[in-house]
């Protein structure tokens, strides 16, 4: 096999996410690129969680339907996923709680208890069995365990070894001699990207699927100095963050649907007062509270138009961890370069999915460069300039005052209601738009892959991009992904799609939001592939659909 899919499932609290990441690590060690999809309902203990870890000899960012190895920590997992298994799949189940006549059992509880471990270590048993089945050497495997399990490492090693020795059946994968890179979740990648650009503050209120960023940043705050805080509400989050920005700190916030709604008033203020704030909007299934732990891409129009009145903004939607790292950095940098708000959209699949990223291809780590005021005459916070950008300053600025204002204002920041002055400040702010377009044009705002010569084109955005990339490659058509969603990269999108006879557009919403935007920019979309059940497509489904449609 040069490709392998493992599904591990159990109850919330069984550590299925962590187990999945360890499995991803195992495959990395064996030279594989990995992608992990993690599925869980909104509860703390019980229920049914599972991770699908797919390993491949080439870069991937999506999972497949056929399972090669099923690790069932409980009966539900066996029942639900047995049918997803390939005919010759290896099934390992928890023989302490499950009776089965297919697959091989391993007594999770018994092994853990024998070693005096605690219940959360049962997944170590499964991983031990898997490592053996895959044909790993013990030492190699032991180093993965030591690396991944910082707590109770010794105990985990003992448990893993017992399992390793007890497992009999194998499903060996061939070792590939390459170093594909490191594994990163979307949320980790966003966090690292923001830090690389020199983030000073991160403010957030917990909300799936953005919470991972808050936890990451909080953990990183000690070493990096970043100011991380969780205040009383999303309104406090965004206004506090904008206060930090007024004081000069590069600050981002993160949230999801309902939390983003609560930020729209201050988003509009960021427009009027020219506050460079970066908002990470992690989409989930809506409307309203919806299905908190499942995915959607149904906030695109909203992100582009959120907040009353008109003002320039950026909206970016990276599709995998690599892009998330890169565009999180761009979001912060461009926001400060133009003094406009930027919105970085992710979705549940990207936020909590795990990807292999090759560090060689990550953009150089460089801090945001802010056009700072260094003049000596009177400082005008909203000085009208050729490019509409007024040099930035934050207090204390010796001998000068800095007046920010949410109301219509003059160049000094003092309120006005005269018509000419209102219009001229609008014009000043709008001057930035063509320059913003130019700036993103230089950053490859549209990602094209697959068969460039094909006259069929599959468009997608966000976490669907790697899926479509791979499917297009397979089917032999072109794949197009806009990463900049606003200002819409019309030129690049037209260029990418101009020779297409037939265009498909896949997105996780009902109405076809990107499809509507494409059509409004003169890019016909022949077939929309909407999905709105909270689940991502799998590669195999999509390929099948494409074969059918391309007929």
């Amino acid at each position: 096999m040069d490709e392998c899919s493992v599904l591990i499932g159990g109850k919330a609290g069984d550590g299925i996410n962590v187990a999945g990441q360890t499995i991803a690590r195992i495959f990395t060690t064996l030279g594989y690129y990995v992608y992990m999809y993690y599925d869980y309902p909104s509860l703390i203990r019980g229920g049914h969680n599972f991770s699908v870890i797919r390993a491949s000899n080439h870069p991937i960012g999506t999972h497949r339907s056929g399972i090669d190895i099923l690790l069932a920590m409980d009966l539900t997992t066996l029942r639900r996923h047995q049918n997803d298994c390939k005919r010759d799949a290896l099934i390992i189940y928890n023989s302490d709680s499950v009776q089965s006549d297919v697959g091989s059992g391993i007594p999770l509880k018994r092994i853990v208890e024998k070693n005096g471990g605690s219940a959360v270590m049962e997944n170590t048993v499964m991983i031990g069995a898997l490592a053996f089945a895959l044909g790993m050497e013990w030492e190699e495997f032991a180093s993965v365990i030591s690396h991944e399990m910082h707590k109770f490492t010794e105990k985990n090693l003992e448990i893993a070894r017992d399992a390793f020795q007890m497992q009999e059946e194998k499903r060996e994968v061939k070792r590939i001699h390459q170093s594909p890179g490191i594994i990163l979740s979307g949320n980790e990648a966003v966090s690292l990207g923001l830090l690389s650009a020199g983030l000073n503050g991160y403010i957030a209120y917990p909300m799936s699927p953005s919470t991972g960023i808050l936890h990451f940043m909080a953990a990183a705050s000690g070493e990096t100095g970043v100011q991380v805080f969780q205040p009383e509400s999303e309104i406090a989050v965004v206004t506090m963050a904008e206060g930090m920005v007024y004081a000069g700190a590069k600050t981002a916030v993160g949230t999801s649907g309902g939390g983003f709604c609560l930020m729209t008033e201050a988003l509009s203020m960021a427009g009027m007062a020219e506050i460079p704030i970066t908002i990470v909007l992690a989409q989930r299934s809506g409307p309203s509270t919806g299905t908190p732990t499942y995915t959607a891409q149904s906030d695109l129009h909203f992100a582009i138009h959120a907040g009353h009145g008109e003002f320039p903004r950026f909206v970016f939607a990276p599709g995998d961890a690599q892009q998330a790292f890169e565009w999180a950095g761009h979001a912060l940098s461009l926001s400060w370069q133009f003094q406009v708000p930027s919105i970085l959209m992710t979705d549940r699949v990207l936020s909590e999915g795990v990807y292999t990223v090759d560090p060689e291809f990550l953009p150089a780590i460089t801090p945001v460069s802010v056009p700072l005021w260094e003049g000596h005459d009177e400082y005008l916070r909203y000085r009208d300039t050729e490019d509409g950008i007024s040099l930035y300053a934050s207090p204390p600025l010796s001998g000068s005052v800095i007046k920010g204002n949410s109301k219509s204002h003059d160049e000094r920041g003092i309120s006005v209601d005269d018509g000419m002055q209102i219009a001229s400040m609008t014009r000043k702010q709008m001057k930035k738009i063509p320059l913003m377009k130019e700036a993103v044009s230089r950053l490859n705002p549209v990602h094209v892959s697959g068969n460039h010569d094909s006259d069929m084109c599959l468009i997608s955005w966000g976490s669907n991009a790697p899926l479509c990339r791979e499917a297009a490659n397979f089917v032999g058509i072109k794949s197009v992904q806009p990463i900049v969603m606003h200002p819409f990269p019309e030129t690049e999108m037209l260029a990418a799609t101009s020779r297409s006879r037939m265009t498909f557009l896949l997105e996780d919403n009902f109405s076809g939001q990107l499809a509507d935007i494409c059509e409004a920019h003169g890019i016909p979309v022949d077939i929309r592939l909407p999905r709105f059940d909270g689940r991502p497509f799998t590669l195999d489904q999509l390929i099948e659909d494409l074969w059918g449609l391309a007929e």
Partner: protein, 282 residues
């Protein structure tokens, strides 16, 4: 250049408005602080939206004219990022006791090092006189011509129970005391809350009542929490009762701080963190 303390923005408060007195007091305090060595550029004024908020246009000082109800939260961000700044909020009663009450209470609880001046004219002034959470029960505005208004909030009492470390009350017609209070509030290390009874000449002119009811307690010890509780309960913002002015409560308590203020942060720390993290994943 920051020269005069008053900008040339046209003042549009009504004649007789209590905001003039507050402006005057605040201006004098700023000048006094300047004279005492705090450079003006280290002071920041944050306002909400309402008549009171025009202060941001009128005073020639760093300012941010923010959103209705959100000034305290915005100001918290400033304090977090740069704890060296002296941050003053001018907020309205609609602003701080209705739309933004959460932020006020949380800033008090956290003991954020800022000073909040509530221009408590007990109406929504700028939107033409509707009732606020501190309007007297019998006040019937255009938005509640019939409904008997419920109990008013007693803001100093609320703030005391939220853990506020400096609770004071001023009156717009007692300029000298007001000036002292504002000065003391700014000097207090931690969250200072000053409820200023402000005359609204157009919708709520309580000059006579206030003039009669206000007093400065002689032997009140602001460190005595129970005494403070008793004092704030004398007046329940419902027109009767004596109104104690001055510092009602003050205590020393650690102030709010989060991580490393941004000017002390080093880019290299982030850089090396990212590299270490990546290496750790190899």
């Amino acid at each position: 250049m920051t020269t005069g303390i008053i900008t040339d923005a046209q003042n549009t408060w009504c004649p007789g408005c209590g905001n003039f007195a507050i402006e005057h007091a605040l201006k004098d305090v700023i000048l006094r602080l300047e004279a005492e060595g705090t450079p003006r550029e280290k002071m920041v004024l944050v306002s909400g939206i309402g008549c009171h908020a025009k202060m941001a246009d009128y005073l020639n000082i760093n300012s941010f004219y923010s959103l209705h109800g959100r000034s305290v939260s915005f100001a918290t961000g400033i304090c977090m990022a740069n704890p060296d700044l002296k941050v003053i909020c001018c907020v309205g009663d609609g602003d701080a006791y209705a739309e933004g009450i959460a932020h006020l209470l949380f800033a008090a609880k956290r003991n954020v090092n800022m000073t909040v001046l509530v221009h408590n004219n007990r109406v929504y002034g700028l939107t033409k006189g509707q009732f606020t959470p501190t309007s007297p029960g019998e006040y019937h505005s255009k938005s509640n011509p019939y409904a008997s208004n419920d109990l008013a909030f007693n803001p100093p009492e609320l703030l005391l129970s939220a853990g506020c470390s400096f609770v004071a009350r001023g009156y717009s017609r007692r300029g000298k005391e007001l000036k002292e209070l504002i000065y003391d509030g700014i000097s207090h290390s931690g969250f200072s809350f000053i409820d200023i009874l402000q005359i609204c000449a157009s919708y709520m002119d309580k000059t006579e009542e206030y003039d009669e009811q206000v007093y400065v307690p002689v032997s009140h010890n602001p460190e005595d929490f129970d005494a403070a509780c008793r004092l704030v309960r004398e007046y329940r913002y419902n027109d009767s009762g004596k109104i104690a002015l001055g510092i009602l409560f003050q205590e020393k308590r650690g102030t709010f701080h989060v991580g490393t203020p941004y000017l002390q942060q080093k880019y290299e720390d982030k850089q090396s963190f990212v590299m270490r993290f990546i290496d750790g994943r190899r």
